[in-house]
């Protein structure tokens, strides 16, 4: 079982290499600035709807960095939800893709102007199309894991969703199908718990003390972690993924995270000051430990802000899809 980690003592040195800490920080800043630009685009009328995951960078970035990236069952599959731009950027995606999706341009690499922001789809990295219903990915994930188990190797299936989505039967489907004693599956089942279901607080949504405890009934190894600490998230994800990779069994990981801009543009998308800001906390820690200076971090943020503004201008000027393109890709032979 996992041991308590020293990182929780603020006096202990950060237990990751400096290079990795800087990389995680860089991606967290890039993700935050991207999300803020997406919100701005929405507010300026350059998109119809925003939904995303500012506040989840500390968890999503390590997840993307730890994934075995590639296409096909030898690599990891990600059945994501729509708060994971940090994971996509950590996989190596450029932010302009998300901006193009927000602007619904023909160049949108994830849906060709057909889907909302944050609804990624990337076959080359096994990222399954993100769906607006909040739970369906939990029913689909066992399928890719079944193929992976049969193919062999160490590729795993990762499925993510929010705590509110665990009310849906699909979450139970995932627990049942991945833990059958006759055929356990290599699935990392993730619940990012931001304690909200749209506007309903967690206590109005579900009654378990920890969502991860639902794994116990299925003999699924499970744990709840602080998803606002990127170092803890990195180490715990690494351990959970190694378990799933080698044991070929499921693991249920609950990550407590913040929701810094509310549910979506439908709830205003304004900064929520009462929530823990994982980026601010991490930067304090990096400064304290002498990993990066305040100046370096401010410069980085300014640079990304400028980059993102420039990318948004490019996306704004690109054409929308042709009307007749609605007939494309209904079936695969149109490829």
């Amino acid at each position: 079982m996992s041991r308590p980690r020293l990182i929780k003592e603020s006096s202990a040195p950060l237990p990751l290499d400096r290079e990795l800490l800087v990389r995680i920080h860089d991606l967290m800043v890039k993700t935050r600035v991207l999300e803020e630009r997406l919100i701005q685009m929405y507010k300026q009328g350059h998109g119809y709807f925003w939904i995303g995951g500012p506040g989840e960078e500390a968890f999503n970035v390590p997840l993307g960095l730890l994934m075995k990236k590639g296409q096909g069952p030898e690599y990891d599959y990600l059945h994501a939800h729509y708060r994971q731009s940090g994971t996509l950027l950590a996989l190596g995606e450029e932010p302009i893709g998300a901006l193009r999706q927000m602007k619904n341009t023909a160049s949108d690499p994830y849906s060709g102007g057909r889907n909302f922001a944050g609804h990624f789809s990337l076959r080359k990295y096994n990222v399954a199309p993100v769906s607006s219903p909040i739970e369906v990915q939990y029913s689909i994930a066992p399928g890719t894991a079944m193929v992976q188990k049969r193919v062999g190797g160490d590729g795993i299936t990762i499925v993510t969703g929010g705590d509110a989505g665990t009310a849906e039967g699909d979450f139970a489907t995932c627990l049942v199908w991945s833990s059958r004693p006759a055929n356990p599956l290599p699935v990392l089942i993730i619940v990012t718990n931001n304690k909200w279901g749209i506007s309903t607080a967690g206590e109005g949504q579900h009654g378990e003390t920890r969502v991860s405890e639902r794994g116990k009934a299925f003999n699924i190894r499970s744990k709840t972690i602080n998803g606002n600490d990127p170092v803890e998230a990195y180490l715990e994800l690494k351990e959970a993924m190694e378990y799933v990779r080698t044991e070929r069994k499921p693991f249920l990981l609950e990550a407590n995270v913040s929701r810094l801009y509310g549910h979506s543009s439908a709830s205003g998308a304004n900064y929520v000051t009462e929530e823990v800001d994982c980026l601010k906390d991490f930067e304090k820690r990096l400064e304290q430990d002498g990993v990066l200076t305040r100046q370096q971090m401010d410069d980085l943020r300014n640079r990304y802000t400028e980059d993102m503004a420039a990318a948004a201008r490019i996306a704004r000027d690109e054409p929308l899809p042709e009307p007749e393109s609605i007939w494309k890709h209904i079936f695969a032979e149109d490829k």
Binding site: P73, Y110, S111, G112, V136, S139
Partner: protein, 352 residues
């Protein structure tokens, strides 16, 4: 001649040995039962799923995404309704990802009345399924087509809904499936599981089975005629064929089309026939409001109005919440032989 259940089983055997089918699964699909209608007995890639329809459709999607080729079964179409958003998602995955992902998966489910299945084992699914873009939808009316359509479905790069008219699953065919043995008893001995202990049983598949494929989207001209066209599929198709034979004795010439594929469908065949006869009756047993046949009536009116000698007609199931168990209730709820014959006779006699 094989019956439809045997034909489906042989097609699945061919598909898992030659077409790359990796998983044939669902509730009771694997050993020992091999499907409640015996359609999956003795196949090598079968397995029993939890009793969870959302899990079955979801797993099929995942297996297809992972590079497998699944054939999932929903035990009765009445149970597939709680997967409707997953069916929608499977249908839109290629489109919404702008062609990046496609799902080569088949879902089989028995549909319709005819086995005295009461409220939850008698429903039709053709209207609901043809309302979900991105799927191909087929429904055979005889064992040969059942075989050929399943072979095509298992070659597809897209999701295919394969609807099995349960009333016809035990009906023997009039045409031989290429490669099946000459007599029924031999076939049964080879591929039907024995009653009782089956643990040591293994099927002996006919080695000469062929990749006989019925193309998806092509109808079948079952009978030529000159005065009325009748278009049907599934359980009601044999009723239409028998009605045409009866009416021929009365001097009424009925052309019979078996649609076989509901999406895409063979409009060219229907159009040519309707232009020739000027009269058309569409027959199925789904409830009549917002029925797939209503779409065909609308298209007929839109495109062929000036070729018509009489209004296009639809004969379908009554718009009632279920099919009652009593014989009288079932018979009154969905079209029967007499209903089809009467409707065709009336249409043939209608004058402009």
């Amino acid at each position: 001649m094989a019956n439809m259940a045997q034909a489906i089983r042989m097609a699945l055997h061919y598909a898992e040995t030659h077409l790359g089918v990796t998983d044939i699964f669902g509730e009771d699909v694997g050993a020992p039962l091999g499907g409640v209608f015996t359609c999956t007995q003795g196949l090598k890639t079968t397995w029993n799923s939890p009793l969870d329809e959302r899990g079955i459709i979801g797993a099929a999607m995942g297996i297809a995404m992972g590079g497998g080729r699944p054939v999932a079964e929903i035990q009765f179409c009445d149970y597939v309704y709680n997967t409707i958003d997953l069916l929608k998602l499977a249908g839109n995955t290629c489109w919404s990802s702008n062609g990046d992902w496609n799902l080569p998966m088949v879902v089989r489910t028995p549909v319709g009345s005819g086995i005295r299945g009461s409220i939850y084992h008698s429903h039709s699914f053709d209207a609901t399924m043809t309302h979900i873009p991105g799927w191909k939808v087929v429904m055979p009316s005889n064992p040969l087509d059942a075989y050929g359509l399943l072979i095509s479905a298992c070659k597809e790069q897209n999701p295919v809904m394969y609807l099995e008219p349960k009333a016809l699953l035990r009906v023997k065919g009039e045409e031989r499936i290429p490669g099946e043995p000459d007599d029924d008893r031999t076939l049964s001995k080879l591929i039907d599981a024995p009653l009782g202990d089956r643990s040591q049983w293994k099927p002996q598949w006919p080695e000469a089975l062929e990749a006989f494929a019925v193309p998806i989207g092509k109808g079948k001209l079952v009978r030529e005629g000159s005065q009325v066209t009748v278009v049907s599929y599934g359980r009601t198709l044999p009723l239409c064929a028998r009605a045409a034979a009866t009416l021929a004795d009365e001097g009424i010439s009925v052309e019979v089309i078996d649609l076989r594929s509901l999406w895409p469908y063979d409009w060219d065949m229907m159009k040519a026939s309707i232009q020739k006869t000027g009269r058309v009756l569409f027959v199925n047993e789904d409830t009549e409001v917002t029925n797939f046949g209503e779409h065909l009536v609308r298209r007929t009116v839109d495109e062929l109005f000036y070729s018509l000698l009489a209004p296009p007609r639809l004969l379908a199931g009554k718009f009632v919440p279920g099919i009652g168990l009593a014989d009288t209730l079932e018979m009154a709820s969905v079209p029967q032989q007499n209903d089809v014959t009467t409707a065709l006779r009336a249409l043939a006699g209608e004058q402009p």
